[in-house]
Subunit: 110 residues, 2 copies
Amino acid sequence: MSNSKLYKGSLTTIILKLLNENDKMYGYEITQKVKELTKGELKITEGALYPALHKLEAEGLLDVEVAKVDNRLRKYYKLTETGTKETVNKLEELAEYIKTMQALVNPKLA
Amino acid sequence: MSNSKLYKGSLTTIILKLLNENDKMYGYEITQKVKELTKGELKITEGALYPALHKLEAEGLLDVEVAKVDNRLRKYYKLTETGTKETVNKLEELAEYIKTMQALVNPKLA
DNA sequence: AATATATACATAATTTTCTTATGTATAAGA
DNA sequence: TCTTATACATAAGAAAATTATGTATATATT
C-alpha cells in the first residue's frame, strides 16, 4: 500500500478475509476491491501484494488457478481448507489487537 | 513486544500516547504500564522500545532527562511541543486505521 | 495514428520495525 | 547464594512493507 496508515502485518488478514467472502479472486481484483471498500483510504501496492500471495500459496493457505481472459493472464486464488481455518485465527487476532489498542489509547472506554 | 499480535508501526503511537497522559516516564516504566493496561496481552521488548525512544528523541518529539534513583539510572522522557502535535496525528491515524480495518473485515457494520 | 491509462503479472533493492540474543550494573527477595 | 526485578543498551537477523523497475495486452483519449 502507499500513502496509507497500514500497519505491517495486516495485509495477510485482508487477503484472507476477502477470499473468504469472494471464493476466488485474482491479484489486481484484490487491489481494486480494497480501494473500493476503503474509499481509497488503503492502496495495496503490487510490491506488497504479489509476494504476500506467493507466500500464502507456499504455506498451503491458498490454491492458484491460472486463466486467460481477454488475452491477458489472471491468477485466481482461493482458500484451501487450512487457509479457511487460518482466516478465522487471523480475524480473531485482529479483533483482539483492536481491543488491546483501544484499551491503551482510550482507557476510559475499556 | 513479544508473543503478541502487535502490528508493526503501532509502538510509536503507544509511546506517544502514554507520555501524553503521564507527562514523563522512563523506559522500564513504559513496559510495565503497557503490560498492566493490556492485562499482559502486550509485552514491549527492550530491543524494540529503546531504539524507538532514541529515534523519537532524535526526531525532536521527545526530550530526555537523566536521573539517578536508588543508585540506578533512569531516563525520563517527555513530549516536546512537536511531539504533542505528532501524538494527535498518530492517534487520528490509529483511529482511522481501525475504522478502515473494520470496514474491510466487517463490512456489515460499516 | 500516437499516446496515455488501465489491466495484469513479477521481482529487486532498500527501508522500517520488529524479535532474539547478548551485555552491563544495581537492588531486593528467596 | 542465587534468582528475580529494575534499568539501561546494542547487534544480528527476520519480516513485511515501500519504491522502483520491468514485461505485456487492451482500451480510451487526443
